[in-house]
Symmetry: C2
Subunit: 120 residues, 2 copies
DNA sequence: CAAATAGTTGAACATATGTTCAACTATATC
DNA sequence: GATATAGTTGAACATATGTTCAACTATTTG
């Protein structure tokens, strides 16, 4: 073996092979962790958190959300697209106006659980 | 008024002032949304999601986590610091070895709820 | 049909974030 | 005390992300 010390995948023998194998067997597939992280990541931005909260209270159009948050319509629209892509919000068109609302109770539950956590 | 069209804070009259005020009254303080987003953001990375899941199954040292995830100790340690700062994991020292475990059931519940969501 | 308005979009920009690398500390062992 | 190992840390780097800006579409109204 070379004498070069490299900080790569813990070349060292396992500290506790049993424990590692125990967890390895229970580990979820890569795809699950990707989805999990993606879901949390979308909620993990203050602007999107505000939008989600606002829509949990009331169906709103883009302009109203922009007013509420003191942001540009463009910025809000970009974020709404992210939420749309993740199926977190849905929308309906009424003339020129596009009304957004939450698509999924699941997300609202998740959101509320975290809200209790940080508000306690 | 100038004729220049600028895409700033929706200068346009409100679409529905009543709705906006309704939500404005119920709106949480800025700080709450910051905390909320910060909490979600920490969970919103695949590496950290894996670490949290692993620690929900078994107390592990840094080297074992690195082995499990196929990552460098350094990368894992950096992420553990993030989780430590958010009080999501705690640790105990035993000689040279540092054992990490989840600090808070609250986070595990949040995590599991999202896991059900993406696994269904 | 022209003007106004709600909303969307892509490019540009600044900032945030995750991993690597190298150097470091602390503990155990020879 | 020298060496090896577990873990941490800061800087550097590449990439991801959020907002702005300007241009665009679509719908309504004069």
């Amino acid at each position: 073996m070379s004498t070069v010390k490299r900080d790569e995948v813990c070349e060292v023998s396992f500290i506790n092979k049993k424990k590692v194998n125990f967890v390895k067997k229970r580990m979820k597939p890569e795809r699950t962790f990707q989805l999990l992280a993606e879901t949390f990541r979308v909620l993990g931005d203050p602007t999107r958190a505000k939008i989600i909260f606002a829509l949990s209270q009331q169906e709103l159009c883009v302009c109203d959300i922009a007013n509420l948050l003191g942001m540009s319509k463009s910025a809000v629209s970009h974020q709404l697209r992210v939420l749309r892509n993740m199926r977190i919000v849905k929308y309906r068109k009424e003339g020129k106006v596009v009304y957004y609302s939450l698509d999924d109770d699941h997300i609202k539950n998740l959101f509320d659980e975290c809200l209790n956590h940080v508000e306690e």
